[in-house]
């Protein structure tokens, strides 16, 4: 049995930052089903927010207000306050580590405007900020390689739990197919989001709800899963992210008539309104038949910015549009559409990154989470751009500190290696033995299709019910899927199947909770309940599994500085 003081699952920004914290004192292992530098954090483009005030005077209070308003007042404000206060120090630390940042003429970290932020506070590295930070942290991990062991291409199947205590994880080595148990005093999940349940998504193939489902399966609830962010500018039909930074630099959104339609929806912020508002604006235009050529897309026009500015500030995404659409944004407008981008919901944690299992914040011993897979909640009902990179680093560090405090001087828990391994081996066997009359590819396509059309930007009771029905049928068909590769060596097919299983469950949870929440708030919009209803729904949804099906309990929102008000831009 493998043993480490601490095991971190996921080697993106949150995972690596956590590892750097924990390795100061304890023996820590990081598990990733890819390689650290392949983590999806690297796909983030626009920037990381902090009230440095390098471009215009700024304050943590303004950052906090923007974040809470952006989250439609569902954010836990005590957590938000600590998070925005920590932001400047976190950015400076990243820079000290060597992170490459674009600079102002006087050598400071450059900051640009971003949707929903009242001041330019997005610190950026051209248009590849996530990539820059990912590599900076990876470099630090290499520097500390003696104190951090990285398990590359290992898959995490489930948690080892004993009562209210977490004692490790069951994993398998993708390259050899061997199943192993890792016993640990503390487990940290930094496993990212689950956009892949939708047809059009910016997420990597790896974003498949593995971490959140592993937590759900041992009885931990998921918080606010219905809140999914649809980013306004995904490349048409591809879903690939075309950064909000383009709008930050001044790009326009145009409908088929060439109108800057954001005037109707958010007259004061226009294209720089928060993402959920812009995505809904786009969808409304498209639904009303004003999409480009009547199709399901809108034009993003950068031409007036000029080649020099585009090449300086947005070179990478310009190349993306050329490579994937064959269109050069210097000379032509780009077709874009809303794309499933970020999961506000996730594993509930307290401000320190400790996983909690109920409204009273009862801790799950030895289990922590940080980054997109967690829900603190700092983003509430909708996340502002550049706040996620910040969340990952801030809470990666916090979870690390909490882990140290918890695990210092603790003993290892009891783990029955044979029993735990057997569970996963049986799972593999079950999949290999299946009847084989169904195509997993077909099932996956149908799931993504129904989620996009029936649980997407606009939702209503009827469509959500149809969605849930469809998903349940897909789950049944899933049990009869056909497997080609039954080998042990680098079997990518079996992992795609396991991931699909996780996604089918997650999809149902999202649709179920969307049905439950009869209001519209942040990224969750019900056409049959188009208004925000603070009286009935100003709370977090905690979804549990039960023999009778899913159950929703509520968790209060922590409101300190900013009382809920109407959210207008």
């Amino acid at each position: 049995m493998i043993q480490h003081d601490v095991v971190i699952v996921g080697a993106g920004l949150a995972g690596m930052r956590c590892a750097l914290e924990v390795c100061k004192e304890l023996d820590v292992a990081v598990l990733t089903k890819v390689y650290p530098s392949r983590s999806h954090s690297g796909a983030a483009q626009g920037g990381i927010a902090a009230s440095l005030g390098n471009s215009e005077p700024d304050s943590w209070e303004e950052h906090m207000y923007d974040t809470v308003k952006g989250g439609d007042f569902l954010n836990d404000q005590d957590a938000v306050e600590e998070y925005v206060k920590a932001a400047p120090r976190i950015i400076y630390e990243l820079e000290h580590m060597g992170c490459v940042f674009s600079r102002t003429p006087d050598g400071k970290i450059a900051q640009r405007s971003f949707g929903g932020h009242s001041k330019p506070r997005a610190c950026f590295s051209a248009d590849r900020t996530g990539h820059a930070i990912l590599h900076a942290l990876h470099e630090q991990l290499i520097k500390n390689s003696k104190s951090v062991k990285i398990y590359n291409e290992w898959y995490m199947h489930s948690l080892v739990v004993d009562g209210d205590r977490c004692n490790g994880v069951i994993v398998s080595n993708i390259q050899t197919g061997e199943v192993e148990v890792i016993r640990a005093k503390a487990v940290v999940f930094c496993t990212g989001g689950y956009g892949r349940v939708f047809k059009i998504t910016s997420n990597a193939f790896a974003s498949t709800a593995d971490g959140v489902m592993a937590a759900f399966e041992v009885g931990i609830p998921l918080e606010d899963p219905e809140f999914v962010q649809f980013h306004p500018s995904g490349l048409y039909r591809q879903g690939i992210l075309f950064s909000e930074a383009a709008r930050g630099e001044g790009a326009y959104l145009l409908n088929d008539k060439g109108e800057r339609f954001m005037e109707t929806y958010a007259p004061s912020r226009m294209e720089l309104a928060p993402r959920d508002i812009v995505a809904r604006a786009e969808q409304s235009e498209m639904d009303a038949g004003r999409g480009i050529n009547g199709e399901n897309c809108i034009h993003l026009d950068l031409r007036h910015l000029g080649e020099a500015r585009i090449m300086e500030r947005l070179p990478q995404i310009r190349q993306l549009a050329i490579d994937f659409l064959g269109i050069d944004c210097v000379t032509d407008p780009l077709p874009i559409q809303p794309t499933a981008h970020y999961s506000m919901g996730g594993i509930p944690v307290d401000k320190g990154g400790h996983v909690v299992i109920d409204a009273e914040q009862t801790k799950m011993q030895g289990f922590f989470a940080a980054g997109e897979c967690s829900c603190v909640s700092v983003h509430g009902g909708n996340r502002l751009g550049t706040n996620s990179l910040l969340e990952a680093v801030v809470f990666g560090e916090r979870a690390g500190k909490s882990v140290l405090e918890y695990a210092r001087g603790k003993d290892f828990g009891n783990v029955n290696e044979g029993q735990e391994k057997a569970k996963v081996l049986k799972k593999f066997e079950d999949i290999f033995q299946r009847e084989g009359s169904e195509s997993y590819n077909q099932i996956r396509d149908e799931m993504k299709e129904v989620m996009m059309s029936h649980c997407g930007v606009f939702r209503d009771e009827e469509r959500l019910k149809v969605c849930i029905e469809t998903l349940k049928k897909l789950q049944e068909r899933f049990k009869k899927g056909k497997v080609t590769d039954k080998g042990k060596l680098f079997n990518t097919e079996i992992y795609e199947i396991i991931e699909l299983g996780n996604m089918l469950s997650m999809a149902e949870i999202i649709a179920f909770t969307a049905l439950y929440r009869q209001e519209s708030r942040g990224g969750h919009f019900r056409t049959d309940f188009p208004k925000r209803n603070d009286e009935k729904f100003l709370h977090h949804s905690l979804v549990y599994d039960s023999p009778e099906g899913f159950v929703v309990k509520t968790k209060p929102v922590v409101i300190t500085k900013y009382q809920p008000e109407e959210r207008k831009y």
Binding site: V34, L52, F101, R103, S439, T492
Partner: protein
């Protein structure tokens, strides 16, 4: 209908690799990765390869297509079809295949680690950010775009014959720090990078620049390290001596003195090196191929000397 001719390999089943063909109608706008996925999801689920972001940022899906490395998600499949309506796919070169198109990246990562790819700052950090000029950012901008995909490593001509070469990715990464104004170990770095296996083993073939899916241009980065190494006086190696001898020759006569350069490159005290020149020197002497002993300058050589002087070279 296109044919995808894919090199399969599964040591669990048989020890030797073999080619397998799949027929697929390339959908409109499909990338090579889209096609690979279609094959895997509808024709043969055992086809194994790495992929993740599908948006040219994670670096997972580099593969050899029609003999040359590229990022599968970045290229339109219909542009890759050859005259026989075929796309041939093989695993990346210079790395050991594990299964189908999956290769062992361990030596690649080991070499990255070897160049100490992390900032070694001068002193204690200030309270806020260290300052860096916009020019300072520009110098490390290109190398920081590298996504570690391995395409350059796959097609590097030196690596094909010499495993000891650090390779284009590691060297480009090294430039990211050699050129970083916040780093304090520049001299140490260029000394290490001037050792055998480092910058002077690059054969200038340009494959790395050709295959890189990003603007990292590894060969250009290697040359930048060379310039810094020469500036810092790291001259005690054949590569540096060669560059200096060449440049001095052009300074003196406007062209290359081919008789001097081999000797000056080896170094006057490098007896084994000088001895190694004898066979080829002798052969050429016997065939009358030795360049004229009295070396002639170009016409108007003074203008060339003037340029050297003006640039302080």
């Amino acid at each position: 209908m296109a044919t995808f001719r894919i090199k399969r390999f599964n040591p669990e089943k048989q020890p030797e690799p073999y080619f397998e063909e799949f027929q697929l109608d390339i959908p409109d706008g499909a990338t090579l990765l889209d096609c690979m996925n279609q094959i895997k999801w509808t024709l043969d689920g055992s086809l194994s390869y790495r992929m993740s972001c599908r948006s040219a940022i994670c670096g997972s899906c580099a593969v050899k297509s029609n003999g040359h490395a590229l990022l599968a998600c970045q290229r339109q499949a219909e542009h890759l079809v050859d005259d026989n309506d075929t796309i041939t796919l093989e695993p990346l070169g210079n790395m050991k295949p594990v299964k189908d198109l999956v290769v062992d990246f361990t030596p690649f990562w080991d070499k990255i680690n070897k160049v100490k790819p992390y900032l070694e700052p001068k002193d204690e950090p200030p309270e806020k950010e260290r300052h860096q000029s916009q020019e300072g950012f520009r110098i490390i901008d290109d190398s920081s775009t590298c996504i570690m995909c391995g395409a350059c490593y796959s097609d590097c001509n030196t690596l094909e014959v010499d495993d000891n070469f650090l390779g284009p990715a590691a060297l480009a990464k090294a430039q990211r720090f050699v050129g970083d104004s916040r780093d304090s170990k520049t001299l140490q770095r260029v000394q290490d990078l001037s050792e055998p296996g480092g910058i002077w083993d690059c054969t200038h073939c340009g494959e790395c620049v050709e295959r890189c899916p990003k603007p990292a241009r590894p060969f250009d980065r290697i040359k930048e390290i060379m310039t810094v190494a020469l500036e810092k006086g790291v001259h005690n190696n054949n590569g540096a001596r060669h560059a200096l001898s060449f440049t001095n020759s052009v300074k003196r006569s406007g062209n290359l003195n081919e008789n001097r350069i081999p000797v000056e490159s080896m170094g006057f005290f490098n007896i084994p090196g000088l001895l190694s020149l004898i066979p080829v020197g002798l052969r050429m002497l016997l065939k009358g191929k030795v360049p004229p002993v009295i070396h002639h300058s170009i016409e108007e050589v003074d203008d060339v000397k003037r340029i050297f002087k003006e640039l302080d070279q």
